[in-house]
């Protein structure tokens, strides 16, 4: 259950058995059926999710009710519903399971608590966010530099496994184009 997440943390910081215990105590395991939404117990809050099995997509819904995919997270990846008030205050991102999925949830307040108890986690999450920041910037750059076709080619090269598992419409949304246009792009390449 916790093997993968502990290995993930161990990439950056070495934990004692007691610290591992303190960590896993905070995590809420959740099983989410295909197409179901992730949500920790209690009122809606900010949280992180670590995907143990399956695949999750992070998305927003705009004023016209259209969804925009911001990220995918297969096994071993972190994801979060963090966002800031683009339209409404307390606007959270939604996380949906694209397959039968097993996740470990950590609310932001639990994260803060954990960092106070075990300062090593300040380091771990500093590096995690530092990396997330870098990836988000890379995607901004890609959108500025590359045509839709080049972005799709890059996506296929970078995430071949996702390309197989994830519906075309979600990939299109992630790339910032319509499903129809992605379909024509695919047609061209054959």
């Amino acid at each position: 259950m916790y093997t993968a997440i502990l290995a993930n943390v161990a990439r950056y910081v070495a934990l004692t058995a007691a610290e591992q215990q303190a960590f896993t105590n905070q995590l809420q395991p959740q099983h989410v059926a295909r197409h179901g939404l992730l949500q920790p117990a209690g009122p809606p809050v900010r949280y992180l999710a670590f995907v143990v099995r399956g695949c999750v997509r992070t998305y927003t819904t705009d004023a016209r009710g259209r969804e925009h995919v911001l990220a995918f997270a297969p096994e071993g990846w972190w994801s979060s519903n963090f966002t800031s008030a683009l339209s409404a205050p307390r606007a959270y991102l939604s996380l949906q399971a694209l397959e039968d999925t097993e996740v470990l949830l950590l609310r932001l307040d639990q994260l803060e608590e954990l960092c106070l108890q075990v300062p090593k986690f300040e380091r771990f999450f500093r590096l995690l966010f530092q990396n997330g920041y870098l990836l988000a910037q890379r995607r901004l750059t890609a959108r500025a530099h590359l045509s839709a076709e080049a972005r799709y080619a890059r996506f296929c090269r970078h995430y071949p496994q996702l390309h197989q598992r994830v519906a075309l419409k979600h990939i299109a949304s992630f790339l910032g184009i319509t499903p129809e246009f992605l379909s024509t792009l695919r047609g061209r390449q054959v």
Copy 2:
């Protein structure tokens, strides 16, 4: 010299006089003339910059030699040249002073060193990157949800001071449109 940056750090963590000393010892002050590039002493590396006075833009240059602005940083803001290998490995972002500018530079290796010496900085930079990650995600969302016109309106509302100080072509690049098109957008609104 260090008043502003210490106030900035104090928003998240309380430092002792000795810790303040350890922090400011690592910082490299640099004066950069208008249009000059920021760069810490030594070989090119990743670094953070805190703007004490003036204004900085962060940008990349693509294969065709065209620049794309990723961020602006006026007084009191942090900025960095972090990026990951979109095209070449060791591809850093460039930071340019848009006015006569005073910055404090902190190399990534110095940051790591500082975190080891004073663990409070793990917390500070964790929160700083967490926030940067959030802002980058917000910009990705804005680009998906909003038309160029709406993005420009939002930029003007959000950063009225920048709108006055920064050249139109840089704002256009930041918004992801051509200067010509931004110019027509401006014309329309009058």
